[in-house]
Structure formats: structure tokens, C-alpha cells
Amino acid sequence: MNYVIIGNSAAGIGAVEGIRLLDRDGKITVISSEQEHVYSRPLISYYLSGQVELAKLKYRPDNFYEQNGVEALLGDRVLRVAPAEKGLELQSGQRVTYDKLLIATGGQPFIPPLKGQSGENVFSFTKLDDARSLLAQIKDLKEKKIEGQAVILGAGLIGLKAAEALIKAKLKVTVVELSERILSTILDEQAAALLQSHLEEHGVDFILGDTITEFGGNSNHLKVNLKSGGILDCNLAVIAVGVKPNIPNITDNLIVSKQGLLINQQMETSQADIYAAGDVAEGYDMLKGLRRVIPLWPNAYNQGLVAGQNMAGGNASYDEGFARNAISFFGLPVITAGIIDPPAEDLAAKAGYEVLTTGCLEKKTYKKVVLRENRMVGFINLNAVDRAGILTGLIKEKRDLGGLKDQLLSNDFGYLSFAEEWRREKLWKG
């Protein structure tokens, strides 16, 4: 069997490992436009802040390709896929054939159309090269003994991780966010406010409900024009308003839905023998009951793993997709998953939602669980993350919580909170 995987990140690696669960011998070719060995994109902020060195960005050991019998074509691009001949044409001129093909090209930063942004000190922050460029700029500022100032557009995960890293690199940082709160997709109002004040204590300035309209000035001294009319001075800017699927324009006949490549629960696309997984694909969100891109690492890896098994003739499926995030800012950890803020209209319509919260402002803790028909559908654990995975597990389990509901927020929530039989069933299964 001849497997070709386009993409070298979580989904691609998941696929390699998925294939090898079933097929030890088939040929695997991985094609990536990046030159890098398998590295972890979420770690670039740790690299930028100096918390981890370059060598530790590796997601798999140096001998990963060798051990898994992978031929890696790095720094190359797929120009065209010809499903009829099962062949690929690469930028380098090389031609590759496949029996099973996986598209795992991930996402790419979404850059809103802004005037004057072509300046060299406006960055994205999703790839290792972005971190490298930022580091070069920071180094340059230091050499010139300029006290650096940065403006970040977007208070999402990427924007805030960039903000933290830049603060640690001794820059002054202002985050501009269109929404009225930070991390609006994964935190509710209370949690966002708590985290915002924590970030402010560590030096991050926020301008909320505003956005950037234009970059002016020169490359060393940017002038950022805000929609509200204000102007910010800075030495560098990071645009982090979101990512979108990186759908390669390489073949017709693939159904592209609202956002990504449409796949079923087996990760098959509309084309025979072509699979897709990860941030490029629209998988199934079990909580929302619809297909959507869930651009998160565990999701990408799992989809890749399932795709790999199916490419190798297995019968795997993945229908446990839902949003989930673990992230820390200046030592304050947050874990959230699922539906954390049911839409007001659903709450008003009494759609079976129930929301429980607890917390302590002084200790900067906040816990929230969201139930639907007495089943776990989401939670926020802010600065109280220990054992949060049990809640994630409950979301997957979709089981009526019964009396367990009353224990969910308690400080010593654990398996003792479960009914004995349920506990035994779970602990002996592991």
C-alpha cells in the first residue's frame, strides 16, 4: 500500500501513527511546504518567550521518519492532484503516486484587509518562521536599545499567547480586540474579566471593542490607526484574528463546505481514496450536532489517527469532536471545553440548559459547568484545573449525571463523587 500525506503537523503525524497501528510495511510519503522536522506549532509562543529552546519544539523524536518508514519531502508543495491517475505533481517537478491520500494541510492565518499592512514588521503567529521573524525583530530592537512596543490585533488564544511571550521578551504590549471581551469563544464574561485583569497585572494593555483600520509610519516605527480614531505607536504588530482552513487548490471535485473540506466520520472526502483531517477539514462536533472546523491540536491528531487507520483498511471513526482548550497565562491555568456560554435564546427557550458556577475573586478562581438535559456539555475551570479531564470525559460519555450534578463544582470533585457502580465501571475499564 502506498500512502501519501500532505501536511506534517498533528493530523499528518496522527495519520502516520494510525497507519502503523495496522500496516507495518506500507510506504508512507509525507509532503510539507515547511522545511522543519515534525514540530509543535502551539509551542512557538514558548519558543518566542524563551521558555523552550528550538530543539525542544520537536513533536516526535529525530528518528521518527526512519522508525515509521516515512519518506519526508520537506519544503516542497503539491501543485496538482490527479485522482484519475492517483498521482501528484509537486513544485519540485517530482511526481508521486498514491493508493490513499490524506490532505492535512492545516490552517492559515486569516488576515483582514488592512491598509498599509505590507510593512515588514507586521506579523502572523502560527508557524515557526513567524516566531523566528519576531525574534529577529526583537533582537534588532535590543541592539538598537529601543524599548520595544508591540500591538496585537486579536485577543484570541494566539494573540494572547503572543502577548505573553512578548511581555516576557520585555516589550510593551497592547492588545486590540473587536469584541467586548477577551477569548470570547472559550470564556464567558466573568472568566474573561478575571483573566483580563490577571493579564493586565502582568503588563498587557487592552483596547476592547475596537479594531485596526490602517498601518502607517515606517517599518521601525509603525503607526496603528484604530477604528475609534486613536493612534498607537509601536515597533511591531501581530495580526491574530483567527485561522482559516488552508485548502489547497489542487484538485476539483472535493466538496468544500462553509469553511473546510467536508469529511464524514471516517475522514473520507467526497473523492474516493482521498481523506482529510485536522484544521483543513470540517469534522463532526458532537455537542453542536453539526460539521465544522474545530481547529485544535487534539482534534487534529485524533482525526489524523482515524484517517490513518481507515487508509490502512481499518474501520475507525471519530465523532467526539468538540472545542476544548488548556492554556496558561503567566502561571494562571485555564481549561475549558464544549459549550461554555449557551446562547441567550436557548436559555430563554428553556432548551434544557442549566448553568452552575462558583469561584473566588481573591483567589482568582472560577468554575462553571453547563448541562443540557442533565448531561455535561461544557465547562470552564479557571485557576482550578486539577482533574478537569473528568469533566471532559463526562462530556464524551453523554450520560445523565443524576445526583453527580451537585458534586461537579466541589473542591474535592473526583471519582468518589460518582455512584459506586459507575465509579467501578470506569476505573476497572481503564
Partner: protein, 163 residues
């Protein structure tokens, strides 16, 4: 999630807790720390080394039990790990975390349905979890439990309640 894989990759011994015999004495925790110390000396391990126990003891009233990583077949922690530090060994089945590569992002804590992964007690950005005392043959918590409340064995699939 439904999966396909070769049969032999699922066989391994695991630790199971017998609640009815657990005293909640926490000796498992004490010996876990000693086993994972550099000195391998119980007193020095506790007095001079900063080691987070890899076992969690839940206790309330008369009921208590020790909980260690279940070394799940599908190891959601390893699949969620963003650094590759958390790995399930395909031969032994042991899920272990390489603290050199762990950055303390806590994604595994988000993923572990047993809540069996702990953050380092001493503020380092690393996690701590059971490795079944891979180097010692039998997990230290099991061999030191004063009341045989922990067993280390391979259960048949039906005993574990999985298909």
C-alpha cells in the same frame, strides 16, 4: 471513537484498587515518592527532593482508594499532548511523560478522563503521572500497600467491561 488496531498492542498489566480494602493511609503516595526519587531513600526523598506523588488518593469517610493512570488503550492524554512528551509505548503499553519535553500546558489534564495526571506540586511547569514503576517490575504502591488494596495484573477484556 471507534478504532482498529492489532490485538497484541492491547495486552498489559494494570493497577486496580480494591476500595473495600483501602485504608486511606496514603503509604502508596509515600512509597511512590521514594521510588521516583534520585536517592531511592525514603527519608531523603521526602526531606531533600521535591517529588510530586504520581498516585491520587480519594478519601471521604470510610471510603477511599488510590487512583493511578489507567494507561488507557487510546491514551487521550498522549493524543492531546502538544509537545510529544506524553507517549504510550507501543510495546509495554505504558503511558509516560518525558519531563524534559513537557512544558506544563496542562492539555493532558484536560484530556485525562480519570483526573490521574497532577501538576507538579513545587511549581515547575511539568506534570506528574504514574509510570507503573517501569524499572522496578512491580509498582511500588502495589508492593507497599499494607492491606493488599492494590493489585497489579492483566485483566481479561470482559473483566474490564470493554468489548
Amino acid at each position: 471513537m471507534q478504532e482498529s488496531r492489532r490485538e497484541e498492542t492491547l495486552r498489559m498489566k494494570r493497577i486496580y484498587a480494591l476500595e473495600e480494602h483501602c485504608l486511606g493511609c496514603k503509604l502508596c503516595e509515600v512509597y511512590c515518592v521514594a521510588s521516583h526519587s534520585v536517592s531511592k531513600d525514603l527519608v531523603k526523598a521526602h526531606k531533600t527532593e521535591e517529588i510530586t506523588p504520581r498516585v491520587i488518593i480519594e478519601s471521604s469517610g470510610d471510603t477511599s482508594f488510590a487512583l493511578q493512570c489507567r494507561h488507557c488503550d487510546d491514551a487521550p492524554c498522549a493524543r492531546a499532548c502538544i509537545t510529544g512528551a506524553m507517549q504510550k509505548d507501543p510495546v509495554t503499553g505504558i503511558v509516560s511523560c518525558d519531563s524534559e519535553r513537557c512544558v506544563g500546558c496542562w492539555t493532558c489534564i484536560m484530556a485525562c478522563p480519570y483526573g490521574a495526571i497532577r501538576r507538579d506540586k513545587y511549581g515547575r511547569s511539568i506534570i506528574s503521572k504514574c509510570d507503573l514503576c517501569a524499572e522496578e517490575g512491580e509498582p511500588s504502591c502495589v508492593s507497599h500497600c499494607p492491606n493488599n488494596a492494590l493489585i497489579y495484573k492483566e485483566l481479561e477484556a470482559n473483566e474490564r467491561g470493554v468489548e
